[in-house]
Subunit: 266 residues, 4 copies
């Protein structure tokens, strides 16, 4: 009997890239609200999503330091289960309701790539960093306090994809005023048989389901964001035309399920 939620399958199931759900996560996050070219945003939406006319190209660039665990104390093996991530969420409309859609995402950990592909996050490998808050007081501590400065960056293949800066100003009492759209994704897996290379084996519009979502310690402040031109990458099409507020927060949730909004192959 071979076991494994993702490959490789083995009799013991330990070698699988990721343990099976439930997946529990906690993170520190930097998120920069900004506005990209609305046409570029629209061009990235999959069938079934339409541009949000009121949003005028609004997007968030997120940087996340994650810790993961399943049911077996995986968090005590941080070399495998701790990771850093960066992604963009663009505003869209699904069935008349405002949603976010994730066109680009980078992580530095294979288990996170496997879980992401299963959900519909189009994950690639990158190198991601964000300034952290430490409790021991120092010029290097970046406390959660007015005036604290944070930076964040994501690179892939030795090219800088994006760089952000944030200076904290005020605490945000109600996170729901900022982060209030469910996230949609495109779950996609190709075929390689010569006659079917243009027909994916899996092609679905999905909705992220996050149990026990907690958003804590949200601070807002002034922000900068750059998304330079990089050969071999399209992320620059979502470069900022205007940058809004930056946020620094903690976020946790569990994943045990996924909603399929649309099966493009049906």
């Amino acid at each position: 009997m071979l076991k494994g939620y993702t490959v490789p399958l083995s009799p013991q199931g330990k070698s699988a890239g990721t343990p099976p759900p439930p997946w529990h996560y906690s993170s520190d996050c930097i998120a920069i609200e900004y506005w990209a070219n609305p046409d570029a945003v629209a061009a990235l939406l999959p069938p079934g999503l339409s541009p949000d006319a009121k949003s005028a190209g609004r997007a968030f660039f997120w940087f996340l330091d994650w810790q993961f665990t399943s049911e077996n104390d995986e968090l005590t093996d941080p070399a495998r289960y701790q990771y850093r991530e960066a992604f963009i969420l663009i505003d869209a409309v699904y069935s008349g309701k405002p949603v976010s859609y994730c066109p680009y995402i980078f992580v530095d950990n294979e288990a996170a790539i496997g879980r992401g592909w299963a959900q519909g996050y189009p994950k690639r490998h990158g190198s991601i960093f964000q300034t952290r808050t430490f409790s021991a007081p120092s010029a290097a501590a970046a406390p959660l306090a007015p005036g604290s400065r944070f930076g964040a960056s994501v690179s892939a293949h030795g090219e800088r994809i994006a760089t952000a800066r944030l200076q904290l100003e005020t605490k945000v009492p109600d996170p729901a005023t900022v982060f209030n759209r469910p996230t949609t994704m495109r779950r996609y897996f190709p075929q390689l048989v010569a006659s079917r290379q243009n027909q994916p084996a899996v092609d679905e519009l999905t909705l992220s389901l996050t149990d026990n979502l907690a958003i804590v310690d949200v601070w807002a402040g002034s922000a900068e964001l750059s998304i330079p031109v990089v050969p071999g990458e399209d992320v620059h099409s979502l470069a900022p035309q205007r940058v809004g507020r930056g946020y620094r927060l903690g976020m946790a949730y569990s994943v045990t399920d996924l909603q399929i909004l649309k099966n493009y192959l049906a």
Copy 2:
């Protein structure tokens, strides 16, 4: 119109993890023939493959330095398209014919993970190295000549999965005497919807198709191989009970197609 053979899909298609086929490869390889516990080999075979009774647990541990290109001179962007790989091939029988099956494989490049999953290679991220042959004469050059010593290793998450050593003795005039089994794999992609987490979306037994296969400069010699116990990994179940000959060779082929031997979901 969104383009991309693998995610992410984008209007320009440049951000996709890998360009679409054809995929052209050339490599330097170290392969160690060895015998593992036949029961452990049998326990890793997917439905439709049976143990090769004559093989008595025979396997090859491969280490490969790859260069990849598609149609757009990708080989001139080595930071993206050069990679290192290590995998095990175990002997098996499919429909009465001797084949190899790949239970474990590690690469250091995301594009290679995406192409691998599309084929059925159960790729995970690792750190792989092999001694190279250089043309400028030196004690460090490891020429293709009797007495030259080579080493190779694969690690994942900072744990050593396997280490090999090889000392060249003689050139092998006919590679087909050594490398003569087609490679089978299990193409597998899970679902995350709560009620279907035990029913993969894709589950197929596949056969690798390699156009223009070239195997050159094959040398054989004495070999050593260790596959230590590593927490969180099952590869040690295929640890060597006996080590045979080691080989150092060049190999090239192109991939444009895949054969589905069996759809487990049909």
Copy 3:
């Protein structure tokens, strides 16, 4: 006019591996108290240090997630100035006073290597991880509370050097009861001129000076530590014969100076 505290020197001084002092640091730390073979501890001490007979081989294995800044908001460039570290401190006596000495240390950042060599820390490159505490509540959050479990590891060249586990039990009201020895190091830089390869250019016993030292949020608990045999490494000589308490804490300080205890070349 060429500038740079460490190489490379350049007219603008930006390319130097590290900015000049003052260096400000804040960190999260896991430290495991343990006892190694007293003879192995003694064998690592440089001239001028003697074994601490009362310590009977006592050592601490530290894992640290650091954030660094100098005078120019370096902490907002975390891809350069955030790093992870692991080191061993062994008990010793200098001029009749109890001190610690650092025989082995690994970091994942070149700027940290440059600063370390300037001080006397014998830094090498490694891959280091520790479980982090996150504020958003989750099974993955590892809060600072009784029962929370932490792990930590250090690897070099794809071999695991050490792995630790810690389960929090109680808060430690006075850190000085645990961490109370100044740290000594050997500052050493070799020569390559053929006749002087056995005479270093710099060889000093140094004492770390830490301004504004802050140790906060110290928790103690039960601990595990393993330091396996690794080919090409000597760290295993300090493997634990007995493991004591584990600690999780925050630590910050600034470095602006160094004390030379002894110049071995004078």
Copy 4:
């Protein structure tokens, strides 16, 4: 008795960052001849070197895939002793003789950093890649033949420092017509004692001594080179104003000694 050519010193001497000399090297190299702003070249020269008026800012940007061994078959441990490197050599004059000087150099291996610092190479950590030549014929093989295309790149901290391209045209019968200047460096090690932070402990102008130098299989062709502006780096001051020929070659030598041209502290 503590042993080690570089730190850390240990009773067995295995943990030292690098084995002691002799050091034997073999490599594949891409070198791009180009002309930078002559004032920028002059501004990087240390005391004792003067600009080469005939050179008008001439420089070479090198990319090297190295294999290293000392006396104990280190080349069979490629995870430790294989590495990639990129550096710039600028034309200069020392005592009336034409020489090269190395202002910037990046490697991906700590042992190479330690050996480099001992010689005077101002090494920092980077990520370096070059297209390789493989013997198995394929569109991915990049053979040493007219029309073959190569690429190379170096990145640090996720920022691209330089990118090069080369298309082979002709074999170069006599390498001495191209590569004929000895290499000078500045050997430099700082102090941290507060009163002496502007007085290095070691500050010497050195000359690289390469025993048994072999330069083989030299090909020349058309080349491209870019050195973009990168925050926190000065390498762009040497950006190309004009690019000359590109070269692809093999090079080997041994290092057993170093010549001190000038002790700046004497």
